[in-house]
């Protein structure tokens, strides 16, 4: 318990100490907030990468992605070859009045066409204006930041891991080839004239 009234004194001390420190208030409209890396503000579309595979639209829990497309036929590259068909994007829209910012569309996109942007100031006075069409989604791409560097203890990115694996395999194969070549040349002392000519 302590002395009677020590609680009152403590209350006074805490409030006075707090008063001498800087307040924690965020002065938002005057000062922009410092957002953490990978902040989820708005979704940008890098439409050059989009193949209209529709995975994002189908995985979206809110059904807030609208995609229209048509097929175009490309003439055969070589004479006598088959004509190729290709998907062309006509409309790509995200209705941010429905979006719940789960990020599944970005996770699921196999071609890296969707990205998180930290921009969050796109409130509208008309709910219909919250449906961002393709050109607006493309504009958001300019606000997508570089991905932050990985943590020190993080796993290697998959792409680099795969490349490294292939490189290691190749190096191992070459080393094995060199090994067998030198081994053969060493044993070729007795059996002269057999291989190892290019060593």
């Amino acid at each position: 318990m302590g002395l009677p009234g020590s609680g009152l004194a403590k209350g006074l001390a805490v409030t006075l100490r707090t008063m001498t420190r800087r307040s924690v208030t965020a002065h938002y409209p005057d000062v922009q907030p410092e957002l953490p890396a990978r902040s989820r503000g708005v979704i940008g579309l890098f439409e050059e990468n989009c193949t209209v595979c529709m995975l994002c639209a189908r995985e979206c829990p809110d059904w807030c992605i609208y995609i229209d497309s048509h097929k175009e036929t490309l003439p055969a590259a070589a004479p006598g070859g088959r004509e190729r068909s290709r998907n062309v994007l006509d409309r790509f829209a995200i209705d941010f009045s429905l979006c719940m910012y789960c990020g599944i569309c970005i996770e699921v996109c196999p071609f890296d066409a969707l990205f998180w942007s930290p921009e969050f100031e796109y409130a509208e006075t008309d709910i219909r204006d919250l449906t961002h069409e393709r050109d607006k989604l493309r504009e958001w791409m300019w606000t997508v930041p570089e991905p932050p560097p990985l943590d020190d203890a993080a796993e290697e990115p998959k792409e680099i891991a795969a490349a490294r694996k292939a490189a290691d395999k190749l190096a191992a194969a070459q080393a094995a080839a060199a090994e067998s070549a030198s081994g053969e040349s060493a044993s070729g002392e007795s059996a002269a004239g057999e291989g190892g000519g290019d060593a």
Partner: protein, 319 residues
């Protein structure tokens, strides 16, 4: 000449009455905010929200004047004025600098001041009764009970100073004030200031208002300008109680260069006490109604009686 002198004094008191409470209110906004790690109003008036209370006043003035159908109309409408005007009258009698710088010299100043102060609380009792609302009635009853409990220690503590000075006039008390009265009347100062805060229903003695419990008690049914007057009365009350404590116990205008800077010392002491009032609001929780009563009768009244005995003994034996 006489007329202009009186008019000038009254005008100065009126100006002080209209500005000082707002200053305290704005200080409360800011101090409370920073004590809670916030910044408080920032926009009104441009610079750190200095005009927030002016904006609030404009908003209050625009609101509809509503009187509940079941209310006692006359009493309901009169209550804010009864709550506010006494503080204006008290301010007239408070000296702020030596050589008669006071709204009006009242011979029995301490009587006048304490009598009129009690009237101010009546405004809340009237509002609580006339509102025809159960919360208001509860708050009004608590207000009345609190008034009865704390008027006694307030008077006793003030009487101690009057005994020490041998006069009932406020400027007269300040004339005879010595620095060693500070420790001598320390208990009295504590009792007077605490009882004064309790009469104003400031936290931790705000059970009669208790917004989270009985929704502002007597003020529940008030809105617009009448509510603003009640608020103004609360802050005017803080100024008056702080100024009175400064005059009675802290030596008012006494300080270095009192002849020229007396008014500054008086204002500084008052401001420090106002800060204390705000500080206590931020730091401490509210007392229950029964705790408030117990504190008055078992703590403040005996302390005040002890202070009177001490004053009497020192006065008779040493002076």
């Amino acid at each position: 000449m006489e007329f202009f002198d009186v008019a000038w004094r009254l005008l100065a008191v009126l100006v002080a009455f209209l500005t000082l409470p707002l200053l305290v209110g704005q200080t409360e906004h800011k101090v409370m905010a920073h004590m809670q790690g916030r910044v408080g109003p920032m926009y009104a008036g441009g610079f750190h929200g200095w005009a927030q209370l002016v904006a609030d006043g404009v908003k209050f003035a625009q609101k509809e004047d509503v009187v509940p159908a079941a209310a006692d109309r006359r009493v309901f409408q009169l209550a804010p004025a009864v709550a506010l005007v006494p503080y204006l009258l008290v301010l007239i009698a408070i000296p702020i600098a030596p050589n008669g710088v006071v709204g009006q010299v009242v011979d029995a100043g301490i009587f006048f001041v304490l009598a009129v102060l009690g009237v101010g609380v009546l405004g809340q009792v009237m509002g609580g009764w006339a509102s025809a609302n159960k919360y208001s009635l509860l708050g009004g009853m608590r207000t009345a009970a609190q008034l009865l409990a704390y008027e006694l220690p307030l008077l006793l503590a003030a009487a101690s100073v009057a005994m020490a000075a041998g006069t009932l006039s406020l400027p007269g008390m300040l004339e005879s004030w010595q620095w060693w009265w500070l420790p001598w009347q320390l208990i009295g100062a504590f009792v007077f200031f605490t009882a004064g805060i309790a009469e104003l229903h400031r936290p931790p003695f705000d059970a009669p208002l208790a917004p989270e419990e009985i929704i502002f008690g007597p003020l529940t049914e008030y809105g617009g300008l009448r509510f603003a007057l009640f608020m103004l009365a609360e802050y005017a009350g803080i100024v008056v109680i702080s100024a009175l404590t400064a005059v009675l116990f802290l030596g008012g205008w006494h300080g270095p260069f009192a002849d020229q800077l007396g008014w500054l010392w008086m204002l500084l002491k008052t401001a420090a006490l106002c800060f204390l009032v705000i500080w206590m609001r931020v730091a401490w929780p509210r007392l229950r109604a029964d705790q408030i009563q117990r504190f008055a009768w078992t703590c403040l009244v005996p302390l005040a009686l002890f202070q009177i005995a001490l004053t009497g003994v020192v006065k008779v034996v040493f002076l």
